[in-house]
């Protein structure tokens, strides 16, 4: 073997040996072997700043909120449901009483009418769901109350009912009126040609459903299949006339009235709560945040539709301007929490990333908004009301919003 080959062989084999990936982690019986001290974890409670927690709209502005009733992506209908008693209302675009055929306005005869509704969510555990459609006065609008609507939902105004198969959880619900039944939705000549309907439901047990709305382009519509008599030719023309909802809302028997001593989230018009904290620079400088949990004490159970979870969002504020504070759009900082169908205990939401944001950016206000996600705002049964710093503390279980922070102090590395 020549010297060059010997050297080459040694180099090659050594390269193979030394090319191994490093492994430096060994077990240790700390603190006996470990230099320095031990990791110590602490727990602290940081209450919200006194009187700096608010929900909007306040009582004085309760007529309007972030999203008004009916302006959300769904409408509520319920029947004896514990969360709320609701009826949905659709008012369709006008349908004229004549059609232009061969440059002439001609009257038509309605042969049949089909209604389409979008079922957004239901309690899939409740069977025997039936949706009832009632005719309402065309003057229905957002000033109409629950009592006004409910009084109209009587047999004489019944248009039809749709039995929803137990296997159908979402989708389009359809019913068609034919023959004499068409008269139930007849639009009298000379009238405003506007059809309005109200929805009520029934099921084996009290429950609720969410149906489509204009805001989510899932509002109800109806189609009239008509025949136009053309006397000059002795022929008839068959056409269909579709009309979508021009207005929709829902009415609630017991709407949430904002109480300035409490924090209201959700409901209709929808509310949001703003909380402000005051973590000191000393704490933020010297701590490594391990876990931060926002704790909120509900005034009463938050009831949502089973199998259609209630969502609450915690969103950090970019600049604290009160009710109109701009919110972050960074997805990783927005915490969305899903509530059980009945949330009666303290609500705990992990907000570690948000507190870390306050730690890394001291110009960021220590303020957060609690809201229902925009995809459900003013469109869910859940109405969350929490105690605030202004709640009279008669009961020790009443706790204002607070942060529970688990943190570590600086690790005591050993100085050689």
């Amino acid at each position: 073997m020549s010297g060059w080959r010997w050297a080459g062989g040694v180099l090659l084999l050594t390269a193979i040996v030394t090319a191994c990936q490093e492994r430096l982690t060994s077990p240790a019986d700390c603190p006996a072997l470990c230099p320095g001290g031990s990791v110590e974890v602490f727990d602290t409670i940081v209450p919200v700043v006194q009187n700096r927690d608010s929900s909007f709209p306040v009582f004085a502005d309760r007529a309007s909120g972030y999203v008004d009733r009916g302006g959300g992506p769904a409408l509520l209908v319920s029947n004896g449901f514990a969360a709320s008693e609701d009826r949905a209302v659709y008012r369709f675009a006008p349908r004229s009483d004549s059609l232009v055929v061969r440059d002439t306005l001609r009257a038509y005869t309605v042969d049949s009418v089909t209604f389409n509704l979008s079922l957004i969510a239901r309690d899939t555990l409740v069977n025997g769901l039936k949706v009832y459609l009632y005719r309402l006065p065309s003057s229905v609008d957002n000033t109409t109350t629950f009592a006004d609507v409910d009084a109209q939902l009587v047999d004489i105004n019944l248009i039809d009912s749709i039995a929803v198969p137990d296997s159908v959880n979402t989708g389009t619900l359809t019913t068609t009126l034919r023959g004499a039944d068409v008269a139930r939705v007849e639009l009298p000549p000379g009238g405003d040609s506007v059809l309005a309907i109200g929805l009520r439901i029934a099921a084996e047990t009290p429950t609720g459903i969410r149906v489509g709305s204009l805001a989510s382009s899932t509002g109800a519509n109806y189609t009239s299949y008509v025949t136009v008599d053309v006397p000059d030719t002795g022929s008839t023309r068959r056409q269909s006339l579709s009309r979508v909802a021009a207005f929709n809302t829902f009415v609630t028997q017991d709407p949430v009235i904002p109480d300035d001593r409490l924090l209201t989230v959700g409901g209709e018009p929808s509310s949001r709560a703003l909380l402000r904290f005051g973590l000191s620079d000393e704490f933020l400088d010297s701590s490594t945040i391990v876990r931060a949990t926002l704790e909120l004490t509900p005034v009463r159970p938050i009831i949502g539709l089973p199998t259609d979870p209630t969502l609450l969002q915690i969103v950090p504020v970019i600049g604290d301007l009160g009710a109109k504070s701009p919110l972050t759009e960074v997805g990783t900082l927005i915490r969305t929490d899903s509530l059980p169908s009945v949330q009666s205990d303290t609500l705990r939401v992990e907000v570690t990333r948000i507190v870390e944001l306050w730690q890394s950016d001291r110009t960021s206000p220590q303020s957060i908004f609690i809201r229902v996600p925009s995809t459900r705002e003013a469109a869910t049964f859940a109405r969350a009301v929490f105690h605030s710093t202004r709640t009279p503390l008669a009961d020790p279980s009443i706790v204002a919003p607070r942060l529970r922070i688990t943190y570590q102090r600086s690790f005591p590395f050993e100085n050689p």
């Binding site: 982690t25 077990p27 990791v39 876990r291």
Partner: protein, 378 residues
């Protein structure tokens, strides 16, 4: 065939072994480095007092005949045992780089080297259970350190007559440690917590050395080194000052046969000077250390002693930083190696393998160290 077997042994044996870093380098300033060339390494350090490519004795530069650059790579395979368990580890480091040569027209020699003074490379993993918010939560902790102290040596030697060589060196001791503590929770709602710190070191030292030759077959060498103090800064703030040791070395070399050369050395370091400084910082202190080494080099061809010689060595010593108070760690090593010069002796490769056993109370480890040295003589 013998040579092939030697190479295979050097490479194949380390399948279960270990390294320069050590669990015995967790405390204090870490695991003391050995500024050795691959040749000296292969003899347990016994030839270091006379080896110009090693950093122990500046007077050894006087053995150079031509400008020489050397580079060493050290791979360790370590098996660690302690009360928390066992683990097999491996690591690659580059412990020694030298450039040195004679000065034209003068019996003088100069050199610069960069070597490992102490190593603080480790990662310690432990598990525990802590009560958080009234619930017991399992946690795993990892404490890691990367870095250590390095020794930049500027050395010179002068040959006085033919029998004496004296040398001196100025040492700049510098380096840093990147420390990291990480805690992970079994309950993932608790975030992994990572904390870091950087420790930097600065210090200076001087060393003197002498080699006395009694004919071509026998030499004695001695060296003394003082490293003063090292300043320890954490994250740019001075946190402590630690006394570094005096180092006293003595060695002898004997050409017993034309084919056989023997050497031995003893190195004593007064690490106890750092004891009070380390205790004041909450450490476990330091003790004086010694190392005794005995080595041999067998040259198959006496006319070309650098052509695949067989090198053997054995050493025993103590380590300065105790894991168990009052129980100073000890180290025992057996080594062998070989080497080759080629390209008209202008290039060389040396390969060494050492099996090391270290222990202190319930803490033990055994390591295979593979040292590859490359030298160039342009």
């Amino acid at each position: 065939m013998r040579r092939v077997l030697l190479v295979l042994m050097l490479v194949a044996v380390p399948a279960t072994g270990a390294a320069q870093s050590s669990q015995f380098g967790v405390r204090g300033l870490g695991m003391p480095g050995r500024s050795l060339s691959a040749r000296a390494f292969s003899t347990g350090g016994a030839f270091a007092m006379f080896d110009p490519e090693s950093g122990l004795n500046p007077a050894a530069l006087g053995r150079l005949t031509i400008l020489t650059a050397g580079f060493a790579a050290l791979q360790d395979f370590r098996h660690v045992e302690n009360p928390a368990g066992t683990e097999s580890l491996r690591e690659t480091r580059f412990p020694n780089i030298t450039v040195a040569g004679p000065v034209r027209r003068y019996p003088a020699f100069v050199g610069v080297s960069f070597s490992n003074y102490s190593s603080r490379d480790f990662t310690l993993a432990s598990a525990d259970t802590v009560a958080l918010r009234g619930i017991l939560v399992p946690v795993s902790d990892t404490l890691s350190s990367r870095g250590g102290l390095s020794d930049l040596r500027l050395a010179a030697a002068y040959r006085v007559q033919d029998a004496w060589v004296v040398g001196g060196a100025f040492h700049i001791i510098t380096g840093s440690n990147r420390l990291r503590s990480l805690r992970a929770f079994a309950d993932t709602t608790y975030q992994v917590a990572t904390q870091q710190s950087e420790v930097s070191y600065t210090g200076i030292g001087v060393s003197l050395g002498v080699i006395r030759s009694f004919g071509p077959a026998f030499s004695l060498g001695a060296s003394v080194r003082s490293d003063g103090k090292v300043n320890v800064d954490r994250d740019s703030s001075r946190v402590s000052t630690v006394d570094l040791p005096y180092t006293f070395g003595f060695g002898m070399r004997w050409q017993a046969r034309p084919k056989l050369e023997l050497a031995s050395d003893v190195v004593v370091k007064t690490w106890s000077g750092a004891n009070s400084d380390l205790l004041a910082q909450g450490g476990t202190g330091a003790d004086n250390t010694f190392e005794v080494a005995l080595g041999a080099e067998y040259a198959a061809d006496p006319r070309r002693p650098s052509r695949r010689p067989l090198r053997l060595g054995v050493r025993y010593g103590t380590l300065p930083f105790s894991l168990v108070p009052g129980d100073q760690p000890t180290e025992f090593g057996l080594s062998l190696g070989s080497g080759l010069r080629f390209a008209q002796e202008r290039a060389g490769i040396d390969l060494g393998l050492e099996h090391v056993w270290r222990s202190s109370g319930p803490y033990t480890e055994r390591a295979f160290l593979v040292n590859l040295g490359v030298s160039v003589r342009p």
